[in-house]
Amino acid sequence: MSPESPEIPHVSELTGEHEHHHDRHGRLIAVAIVLTTLAAALVAYAQAAALRTHDEADARAERNGALALSAAAIANDESRAQVDRFDLLQSEERRADNAALFEQYGAGSAATKLEAARWTQIAHQTYADTRAIAKSEGLPYICSPSHDAPCPAANGFYSPEQDPNFPIRYQQNALFQSYRLSALRDAANQAADNGEAQFVHYAAALTMLAVGVFLFGYALTPQGRARRTLFVRAASGFVVVACGWALFHALEHGSTPPDSAATAFANGEVATNDYQYGQAVADYDRAIKLSPKFVTALFHRATAEYVLGVPHSTLGSTTLPAPAGPVTVPSVQAIDKAAADDARARDQGSTSPTLLANLGADLLYRGLLRHDSNDLRQSLDVSRQAALALAQQNQSANDLVNARFDIAEAELALGDSYARDYQLAEHSLQATDVDTESGVGAALTDLDLIRVTHPALASQVATLDGQVVASVQFGPVALTPNGDLPAKGRPPIRFTGVQLQPDPGHMLYTIKGPGSFNPSDDVLSAQWQYKDPVNGEWAVLPEISGPVAKGGLLPAGPGYSSSNPSYVSLSTPATCLPAGQYKVDLYVNGQLAGSATTPGNWPTLQAARFRQVDAAICAPPNWQPLSVSSTPGADGYFTANASAGVVVFTIPGAALGSAQANPAALAFLMRKVVAGFASSVLPGLVPKGPDQATSFFMNFSDGRFQDWTFNGGKLISGVGMSPSGEIYVGLSYGPASVDVADLFLSISQL
């Protein structure tokens, strides 16, 4: 050994002369010790790098999270300000129109003429300023293609004419950056998780290397001499495994998702919130392809796929699920996709109880539709986990109700004991923050799906239907020994002569024989249902269903009729009912008192929202809006050649002066408006009879209507005054091939 080398004792010095032949082994072990130490140093370096990756990704995630929140708040605020500018413009345009209408239908004067011109001028200036302000803010402005000029298509896209849920489309567009930052936060969290996993694996490798160094060292001691080979082999084993372990995880490290995945996700979020579910799925597909472990994208794609499986009305930018209700069961193919994505998101580490609840519902529906008890058992397990987690959370009462009903429904379908879980679910409906009718509607829809798929359970389903409805009226109830529901001291009531008259915008029922029903003492609940053309169950329309409130039932001869609630008015976004089978179940004091079904035959219609009037109609998708600027205070939709159409006029109540509350004055005004509109468009227009009172024109209590004929067609007009003092005159007309009455009835307040 050279004199400058470090002083390492010879093995012979430690063990004696008789061990001299082992000197070579000792030196090799010493080299192994140092090599193991080097390996440990390298692993420690890799561990430090993993820790750095984790810490930086963590910091990045936190930063993106904070920026996402802030971007959302700022975007909401700025978009709200732009929507306010648009509202200001609209209010000025309405004031100009009101002045013009006052001039036309009221006691006009030079002052009213000047007023109309004044507000028109102010509106023009407001529009010019809005464009300049939006430019300085770096945001698009909102304009109405039928009224504002110039209005580029990209800006008109955000207008109430083209956005069925105005101003959601505009707000969602502003939120794009926030969604993108949220996705970048998720990606950074994923990178941090990868870094942490690597750190842990390197720590395990370091531990093994430490053990290896100890065993090598022990093999050199006099005490370890006797079993040196064993110690060396064991140490070598630890070192080899540790190095292999570290190398494997160094090469295997997870990749960081590219930023383009975040962009695709943000596009998907905007599309989802704009009801463009097909586009949303395509965007999420891209995001998941770029980042296969993107849990939120998987979760949201599942939701979009689920909704896509529900029949939709119309196409393009106005496509909406039809009916709009949240309780329809989608096709089994859509459920398959949604369940696969939900399960994948869960397996990738999502702990969202909402995701679990969705997965439970997916499995329940699939199990029912395919008669698969394995799916039903899984649904039971998953829904129970979801319910447990949701019960610990605030602001998740609706999800909890659905999860608890899913548990009870799975038990019912499996033949297990279900009474306790049904009572628990019904008890959840009593929470103050629950959308009660959506919960009841979903439960009744699911029960009917069980009836359709498991006919043997029909009697239990019928009993549970009443129990669920009664639970809302009286709280959770148990059945009496003979299977009846308590009627709170009133004898069971049976209706006769229940009839339905649905139209694309409304649902009307009449009861000819109400029996001993007394609206003062009895609680009536109407559950409107639409027959799902995909799975065959009766799906409740929660928007127009539920306990009938005061004023919801009108005397009609010896019986009653409903106040004809407008589905268009009550659904969000405004949606028209599709053609198909409709049914109403009328429950009195929690017991089924009457029921009726009827077909609704009409073409595919879409809710067309008026711009100048807070109203909408159900019009064929190819009808064109009226150029509002040409007719102050009026909005309408027409066929391409104007052979049929619907128009609504709003006129300030002050135009009638003191005669506002006079039905004759309202009818006179209606005839004046109709005559003014028809003079150049509908030759030969004459009234078919006198005007009559109606409560079905826009649900006005003082409404009146009148039938007309003209050369080659007919016209129906109506008039009524809103609580805010505006007079609405509506008319629909067309040749015999057009259902003018349905169009007229579909005119709904928003």
């Binding site: 050994m1 050279s2 400058e4 080398s5 470090p6 390492i8 030196r27 090799l28 010493a30 080299v31 010790i33 140092v34 090599l35 130490t37 080097l38 440990a40 140093a41 390298l42 420690a44 370096y45 430090a48 790098a49 820790l51 750095r52 810490d55 930086e56 910091a59 936190e62 930063r63 904070a66 920026l67 929140l69 802030s70 708040a73 700022i74 605020d77 700025e78 709200r80 300000a81 306010d84 500018r85 200001l88 000025e92 004067s109 030079a110 002052a111 000047l114 004044r118 001028q121 102010i122 200036q125 407001t126 010019a128 300023d129 300049a132 302000i133 300085s136 803010e137 770096g138």
Partner: protein, 202 residues
């Protein structure tokens, strides 16, 4: 070496924490400033409407009968006063970003631009003292460099261990081979020392 690396990591964690605090404060202030400017923008809408209404009423008054004219002039005065009050708030606070205002305090769209959102926001933010001195990005960059320093120091420690390997090999070898190993060990240790000095000093 390990001690120095550990110190660097600890420093990086602290810088990250400071960066986080700065970022939250910055976001809150920016949001409040944006909301303020949005409220100015809403006020501008009323200001412009009242101004134009006042002018239009005054112009139209001579075209109607005496009673109506008096009413219109009276309304014009009310609208002008309202416009003037709002104009004071948005115009005098941030004059360079405000639209052109007539001597009577009303909006004059023909002589200037409309409300400039971006410029007003810039004014509001520059006047917002809570934003001054906040630099979360710089703190975050410092944390990154501290983490990198810690990593470099750990790497240099590994180099020292490499030197130890060569010196051990020299110790268990003989003749020329031993000298080669020793020289190599010395060289690696020297490089590690130089790198340590470079990393630590710069």
């Amino acid at each position: 070496m390990g001690w120095r690396a550990s110190l660097s990591d600890e420093h990086a964690v602290h810088q990250d924490e400071l960066s986080r605090q700065d970022l939250v404060q910055q976001q809150q202030s920016e949001l409040a400033d944006t909301q303020l400017v949005d409220s100015y923008m809403t006020q501008f809408g009323t200001f412009a409407e009242d101004s134009l209404l006042a002018r239009s009423l005054r112009q139209d008054a001579p075209r109607v009968d005496h009673n109506n004219a008096q009413t219109m002039l009276s309304e014009a005065q009310v609208d002008l006063n309202l416009a003037r009050n709002i104009g004071r708030q948005i115009g005098f606070t941030y004059p360079a970003a405000a639209p052109y205002v007539n001597p009577d305090g009303s909006y004059e769209p023909q002589k200037g631009s409309a409300f400039d959102f971006a410029q007003t926001l810039a004014f509001v933010e520059s006047a917002d003292e809570t934003l001054h001195g906040l630099d979360p990005d710089q703190l975050r960059a410092q944390a990154r460099s501290q983490r990198l320093l810690g990593l470099h120091l750990t790497g240099i420690a590994a180099l020292f261990v490499s030197a130890l390997v060569f010196l051990t090999l020299a110790a268990v070898s003989r003749g020329t081979r031993a000298r080669w190993f020793a020289s190599l060990g010395g060289l690696v240790a020297g490089v590690a020392l130089v790198l340590f000095a470079l990393v630590d000093l710069f």
